[in-house]
Amino acid sequence: MVEAITPIALQNDETILLPERIGDLTGLDQFGVGGELLAAFLAAFIVGNLMLAMTGVAGPWAKRKITAAFTDRIAVNRLGPAGLFIIVADSVRLLSKELVIPEQADRPAYDLAPIVVAASALLGFAVIPMGSGIHLADPEVGLAYVFAIAGIASIGLMMAGYASSNKYSLLGGLRAVAQNIAYEIPLVVTGLSVVIFAGSLQMSTIVEAQAATLVPLGPIDIPAWYALVNPFAFVLFLVANFAEVGRNPFDMPEAPTEIVAGYQTEYSSVYFVLIYLGEFLHIFLGGAIIATIFLGGPAGPGPAELGIVWFLIKIWAVFLLTQWLRSAVPRVRIDQMIEIGWKGLLVLSFANLLLTAAIVGLIT
């Protein structure tokens, strides 16, 4: 009874994905499966390092610059143009620090946590269409996949908090989990209100659906970006997303004034780098999701080859917003955070979902 399993649900295959392009360019696709695998690996390598580079820029440099600007200071400006070389210096500094591991640390978990945090964030980008053909994979369950992968991070945080055997870390981890789960549901449900418009979970389809014209405004057409179609959902999603990535005003998992640094208290050297990296990747992943399902993905004026540029601009805009809030908004208390999540956002997101559905049903 050896029979092939034939997938039922068909996906739209017209989008040409990065691995195939590379296969064409390098001629790897003649070499059968092996070639395909190699091509896929190359593509993944490109995407991975792109993200790495972005975080590299953001973490040591952009973050400081932005915060400095808000606090009317001049941040790093010694090394290189506009102090850009601080990136190299910082990475070397951090990597060459001694790795101090607490005695009662729960070892395997303690070591795994940073990797989980970093890798989970990176994996999310697999399905994000970044324009200019930089689109690694396009499964028909893309959106669900992203939410699922992003959710893994909280496991990593919990591991970190638990394994460090430190009261601060434990509390931080718990807070991180409580916060993630509190805002996971509003996030997903609001995302679903977009799916109702697009009628698919596939990222490429969602992006294409936003290419339509909402209202022609003189010469330029306002595109049907869902941020414009359903701004309410956009705001909800934005708020929930900030809580998900644990940034102000929802950064009590690592509230330095309360519990030192939360789950990362006991981490140093490369482990700290990884967690730090993971957090920034998460911020960018959140930005990527927002850009994709609300801001039309890589869409923008000019030729399609510029897609990646527009996409990066949108991501960085979200990043900028997070940093802005970081310096502008105070931190909420844990109980406030929980109540906002369960009593406010959850109800609002359900209401948004049903209203969207009703309106869509009525107008069509």
Partner: protein
């Protein structure tokens, strides 16, 4: 890319047996719960694989329901285990012996 149905069945049976083993050997209520979850997910694998195999979606849909019910079961179970801990200061299923077994 096509994989024979029997591999899926073998996988799920393996998973099921692991879960059963855990159920039979573990004394910690939480481990017991996890083992049961393994068994349920083994069933899910079966359902989805067979759904592809038979070319109808019934199995997939049922798998969704199974997940939901499994979660509900875990919720109730954790609640009971919490009360257990309150009363017996332990989550070892062999500790409570108020009534003879």
């Amino acid at each position: 890319m096509s994989i024979g149905i029997e591999y899926y069945v073998l996988l799920s049976m393996g998973l099921f047996c692991i879960g059963l083993f855990g159920v039979l050997t573990r004394r910690n209520a939480l481990m017991f719960l996890m083992s049961v979850e393994l068994m349920l997910n083994a069933a899910n694998i079966n359902l989805i694989a067979f759904a592809f195999y038979h070319g109808n979606l019934t199995g997939q849909v049922f798998a969704l329901f199974t997940m939901a019910l499994a979660a509900a079961e875990v919720a109730v179970g954790l609640g009971i285990i919490l009360v257990l801990y309150r009363n017996f200061r332990d989550v070892d299923v062999t500790v409570p012996t108020t009534m003879r077994w």
